[in-house]
Amino acid sequence: MWFKTIFRRKPAASRKPRTAATRSDGPLFDEAFLRRLERLSLQAQRTLRGNPSSGEHPSRRRLPTTVFSEHRPYTRGDDVRYVDWNAYARQEQVLVKLGEAEQDVHVHLLIDASRSMTVGSPPRLRLAQQLVGALGYLALAHSDRLRVAPFGPQVARPFGPAQGKSRVPEMFGFIERITPQPDTRVGAVLAAYARQHPQGGLLVVCSDLLASDGLEEGLRVLAPPRWQVLVLHLLDQRDLHPDMQGPLELEDSETGQRLAVTLDDATLRAYARAARQWREGIARLCARRGVRYAPILSHWPLERQVIPYLYARRLLS
């Protein structure tokens, strides 16, 4: 009845971003977890271009070093301390000993802060914050150059570049203060971010990927070897298998758009099939673009399930 809704209070509260709830959930980690986490490191590829002055990641560069890997002819300017005199005695040619150089890498952590990340129980944004916090901690602990950038329709003010463990509290504070954005444009954000950082690096995208624009546009400009991209796809179990029935009016948490559906068993089966195809399409796209893809359910506990999962998939080492 139309008059039934005259005095009804609008359910605006249910559409508010759940940032307060997110912040009131307590600290992201405890110290014991961070100590256990410190034993891990990000698995960065050699192809990444970093700064060999610091860092612990292997590099494709060969520099004169005492650790032998191969020889090259001496050129002017080479440090004579790395001349292999024994080889000169045998071959009467001045050779310089080359060895593998370690480097630091640019670690870019992009966290989806759109409103869709706040819907669900538990909300995906909380897990995303924990994931980004953990990966950021690993980056800082291993002397990598870290950038943390929340994004919605565009990239918000980022954290970093930062290097060194001394920046960890600052990073955690930044992550906890992330404000949800109205909507998401993953492809455009990734493309814009790649243009802003042409040196490349290890890019971790932590998102639910529920965006209407094409993810492929963004992944195309994040091509290896300059970029090593890791997509952490945060999924809610109820997104894959909704526990709803009957006639419903679905409302998009970001756009407010509504869709009338009548959910019965056949419709739910069709939806589950479409969701599986959507997820498989993203996985194929990532594989085609050389992007490592890891779907993560939002209800997985971080230390007991998410970290071992990433370790098993060689995203961590």
Partner: protein, 620 residues
């Protein structure tokens, strides 16, 4: 239940509109999802199927219920409380005229059989109420009254037979109304083949206080019948002229043969051509000596009973008359002029109590009244049978009493001088027919075995014997004291009161089927007899073991209105008029209740929607 404004039912068209609105805009519970991206991936065909499907929800049913209730309320329904919760009291009038013996097409039986079946059906539908069964034959008769015993009713139905010509439906309706007087929820149903002479005129306009419904039994049948069969004496030689009228009640021409039989012997066979709806008149002259005639028609039609007609030719009842008089000339002359009398004249001295059908005493009375008819003229003063009265004056005009009007009808007494009256005192039971100055001149009465008339004047002292009134008065008095002959024919189902010889102690009637029934003779000397069956009846008057009189009566089934088996319209059903106050009490408008019920449903719907909304918000 009736509707005062049936057009209000057009509001029922809102029902499909409500269904369409529910299909177009179904109210759904709102759920916030992260994104519609995945939902929009559903195939278009699946979404279309979802749109076309109408979900039967409680809200939809409530909306339809409210709309239906309001639409019905707009039609202003009224609930007729007459008969609600009350038992039905039924009066069944079944036509038992002879035409009900015709076959009923499609039933395999007669019209009466079909009426029996229909009556059993109606009695079964009457529930626990009572029923009265009335046979509408030539005389209406209540077969079973005010009973709910179905066995008795079925048994009474089984006893029904076609009884004669004509149906006293008006009388049957009167009996039915009387039996339903004061009964709640009464109903009269008439089962008839509509072969009734008074259907259109009397019955259609007949008022009734009870609902009346007519049901027609039987169909369209062609029939031929002998509807008239009569005789009269021809001039001379004792010949008799016989007349018959044959009618074709059908749409096709017919050639047939009419055969005339005299005392069982074929006298003539005459071909006749009957045009559609036409008739043929036939006459014969039959010789003397034949006592009983019957005519037959090669009808080959559905009602054989009216293809035969019978007639008795015994027009007079032969009687022996004994005249006891010293001067019998005038009386003898008058009595010999009366046909059918065999006269014997004796002097008073010779009278020995001779047996006769009529004994005429002139100036003489015996010690006891002889049996049979007795006419005592100028009784002597010393007669012991009559008490002497004071001398009567001679002056004054003779006056006819109301009881004597029939005797003196058409007889002029203006110039008649009766002379001095005999001073006798009539018995208390005597009826005076003619008096003068308060003194009875002619009176009559009955004693067991005798019918007595007294002329209390002397024929020789007046001029009556020389007037035309004398032979007429003698003949009428003789016919009054001697019962007339039985009728030659009668219609089937007719009931006649036959005058009986005063000496008779019993009258036996033998029907055409051979059954003999004794009749009771009334105190006035009449015996009522009913001729149920077509054919020849035999009447026998007995005085102990002595047979006094034997007569034959031909009973016929052919009649103009009865033999026409084609359907005729029956009157419209009649609803019983009700007093306005009673009608207002009996009719209860329903629309306020319907509107109230619709409001209750709306309130329930509001509660349901509110509860569902609250639950939806809580889940969100």
């Amino acid at each position: 239940m009736s509707l005062l404004a049936p057009l209000g039912l057009l509001a029922l068209l809102t029902l499909p509109v409500i269904v369409i609105l529910h299909m177009l805009r179904e109210r759904r519970r709102r759920v916030i999802v992260p994104s519609l991206l995945l939902w929009q991936l559903l195939s278009q065909s699946h979404a279309a199927r979802q749109r076309r499907r109408l979900s039967i929800t409680l809200l939809l049913l409530l909306h339809l219920l409210v709309a239906a209730l309001l639409a019905l309320a707009l039609a202003h329904p009224q609930w007729d409380l007459i008969g609600f919760g009350r038992q039905r009291h039924l009066a069944l009038v079944i036509d038992t005229s002879i035409s009900m013996a015709a076959p009923a097409p499609g039933t395999g039986g007669s019209r009466l059989d079909a009426a029996r079946v229909r009556a059993q059906s109606l009695l079964g539908a009457a529930g626990g109420g009572s029923a009265t069964l009335i046979a509408a034959g030539p005389q209406a008769q209540v077969l079973d009254s005010d009973t709910s015993n179905s066995v008795r009713l079925v048994s009474a139905l089984a006893r029904l037979q076609p009884t004669g010509v004509g149906s006293d439906v008006a009388g049957a309706l009167t009996l039915a109304e009387a039996s339903l007087q004061g009964r709640p929820n009464p109903q009269i149903i008439v089962l008839t083949d509509a072969a009734l002479p008074a259907l259109a005129s009397e019955l259609a306009t007949r008022g009734t206080t009870v609902p009346l419904r007519w049901e027609t039994i039987g169909g369209d049948l062609d029939n031929r019948a002998i509807v008239t069969f009569a005789a009269r004496p021809a001039s001379g030689a004792g010949l008799v002229q016989v007349y018959a009228r044959v009618v074709n009640y059908g749409g096709g021409a017919l050639r047939t043969v009419v055969r005339l039989y005299g005392d069982g012997t074929l006298l003539d066979a005459r071909p006749a051509t009957l045009q559609p709806d036409g008739e043929v008149e036939l006459t014969w002259t039959v010789p003397r000596g034949i006592g009983f005639l019957h005519a037959e028609l090669d009808g080959n039609d559905p009602l054989p009973a009216d293809d035969r007609a019978e007639l008795s030719l015994a027009m007079y009842r032969l009687a022996r008359v004994l005249l006891v008089s010293e001067q019998p000339a005038a009386l003898e002359r008058a009595l010999r002029a009366v046909p059918g009398l065999e006269l014997t004249v004796v002097a008073p001295a010779e009278y020995r109590g001779n047996a006769a059908d009529l004994t005429v005493f002139d100036g003489f009375l015996p010690a006891a009244w002889p049996s049979g008819g007795v006419l005592a003229i100028h009784p002597p003063r010393d007669a012991t049978l009559l008490a002497a009265g004071p001398p009567a004056p001679v002056s004054g005009e003779a006056a006819i009493t109301p009881a004597g009007a029939a005797l003196f009808e058409g007889i002029s007494l203006g110039a008649v001088e009766f002379g001095p009256a005999t001073p006798v005192t009539p018995p208390a039971e005597a009826v005076t027919l003619l008096s003068r100055a308060g003194q009875p001149l002619i009176f009559r009465w009955r004693v067991p075995g005798s019918a007595i008339a007294v002329w209390a004047f002397d024929l020789s002292q007046g001029n009556l014997t020389s007037r035309l009134a004398f032979p007429l008065l003698v003949a009428r008095t003789a016919r009054d004291l001697i019962p007339p002959a039985a009728p030659g024919s009668a219609l089937a189902g007719a009931t006649l009161s036959l005058p009986v010889d005063p000496r008779a102690t019993i009258v036996e009637v033998t029907a055409p089927d051979g059954t003999t029934t004794p009749l009771t003779i009334g105190p006035e000397g009449y015996a009522p007899v009913t001729f149920d069956q077509p054919g020849r009846y035999t009447l026998v008057e007995l005085a102990g073991a002595q047979r006094l009189y034997t007569a034959y009566v031909g009973v016929n089934a052919g009649a103009a209105f009865e033999s026409d088996l084609r359907p005729r319209p029956v009157p419209e059903p009649v609803a019983a008029p009700l007093a306005r106050r009673e009608r207002d009490k009996a009719v209860q408008p329903l629309w306020p209740w319907l509107v109230a019920l619709a409001l209750i449903v709306i309130l329930g719907e509001w509660v349901y929607v509110h509860a569902r909304r609250s639950r939806g918000f809580a889940e969100s």
